[in-house]
């Protein structure tokens, strides 16, 4: 067996390990230093990981942990050589991890996606097709700007931090992540739903609470 240590999250040293099994049905265990803990499980590297089920396993371990603790979720697929490597990581980046834990303390991440209907694509060579395309592109940019402004105005004050970026494809106009105090989650969702009713040309889809994946980089949000 080609064994590694799979990292789920970094958290408080007093955190209890979740009762859930992790990837490859291995038990999840905490590795502690004096001021931090890394939640890990042993993994057979040769067996391969990367299925949707693996991703949900990772997510559910972190979600269970975040119900009781502030967490820094690890990126999927983070492998360390062994337990000592994990402890060394905690020691070497202690200051950074503590600063990140302070930033997300008491908060969860919510996702807000702005979806738009995608017109059926029919290639056209008729006169004026190019101009029509440009008009449509301009309308889309305008809509993205407008909705982005509305969303910021209606919800921005509720968030500790936020990231808004362009969507990945025609159907996704905008994607955004919001760092929200736990006690404000319901209010954010209610206001997002209300805003969705007010906006005619797009649909807002809110998911979460997620672990604060979008707010734990060394460089802060982004």
């Amino acid at each position: 067996m080609d064994v590694s240590v799979y990292l789920y999250a970094i958290t408080d040293p007093l955190a209890q390990a979740p009762g859930l099994e992790g990837l490859q049905s291995a038990p999840v265990r905490p590795l502690r230093t004096a001021t931090l803990a890394a939640l890990v499980s042993t993994i057979d590297r040769r067996a391969g990981i990367g299925s949707t089920a693996d991703m949900w396993s990772h997510e559910l371990v972190v979600e269970e942990l975040m119900a009781e603790n502030d967490v820094l979720p690890a990126r999927f697929g983070t492998l360390l050589d062994d337990d000592d490597s994990a402890r060394r990581l905690l020691a070497e980046r202690e200051t950074e991890f503590h600063a990140a834990l302070d930033r997300v303390a008491g908060a969860y991440e919510l996702s807000l996606r702005v979806m738009v209907p995608v017109p059926e694509e029919r290639p056209s060579w008729e006169p004026g097709a190019g101009a029509a395309y440009l008009r449509a592109a301009k309308r889309r940019t305008q809509l993205a700007d407008d909705v982005s402004r509305q969303v910021r105005r209606a919800l921005g004050w509720l968030a500790r931090a936020s990231v808004i970026r362009s969507g990945r494809d025609a159907a996704h106009l905008l994607e955004s992540a919001w760092l929200i105090d736990r006690e404000r989650l319901s209010e954010f969702r209610e206001r997002a739903a209300r805003l969705n009713d007010e906006i005619d040309d797009a649909e807002l889809v809110c998911t979460g609470p997620w672990p604060p994946y979008s707010f734990v980089g060394a460089e802060g949000p982004g």
């Binding site: 590694s4 990292l7 970094i10 590297r45 391969g48 990981i49 990367g50 299925s51 949707t52 693996d54 991703m55 949900w56 990772h58 997510e59 559910l60 979600e63 975040m66 119900a67 009781e68 603790n69 502030d70 820094l72 979720p73 690890a74 990126r75 999927f76 697929g77 983070t78 492998l79 360390l80 050589d81 490597s85 060394r88 990581l89 991890f97 990140a100 008491g106 969860y108 991440e109 996702s111 996606r113 990945r168 494809d169 159907a171 996704h172 994607e175 992540a177 736990r182 989650l185 319901s186 889809v205 998911t207 979460g208 609470p209 997620w210 672990p211 994946y213 979008s214 734990v216 980089g217």
Partner: protein, 83 residues
């Protein structure tokens, strides 16, 4: 810290509709593969990052196609477009 009542599993809450599941899966992918604490340097195995993510994406495309036979083209395109 007191347990937060809102911290249920996303998986459970999102079974309401296929569309909600698709969005939830996309949100999951975005976060797990592009967000989170990134570990670089010699304590990370060289094989970890790139290979697993590539593997992940191909498997996700395959599995969402199976998961959502009603509407695979959209989701496959979205998952495939993710990088």
């Amino acid at each position: 810290m007191t347990p937060a009542p809102d911290a249920g599993t996303v998986a459970t809450r999102s079974r309401a509709s296929l569309a909600a599941r698709e969005v939830t899966l996309l949100d999951l992918l975005d976060r797990l593969l592009a967000g989170g604490v990134a570990i670089h340097g010699d304590i990370t195995l060289a094989v970890a990052d790139i290979d697993l993510v590539e593997l992940s994406l191909s498997l996700v495309v395959a599995s969402t196609a199976t998961l959502a036979p009603a509407d695979p083209p959209t989701l496959t395109a979205e998952a495939g477009g993710w990088t």
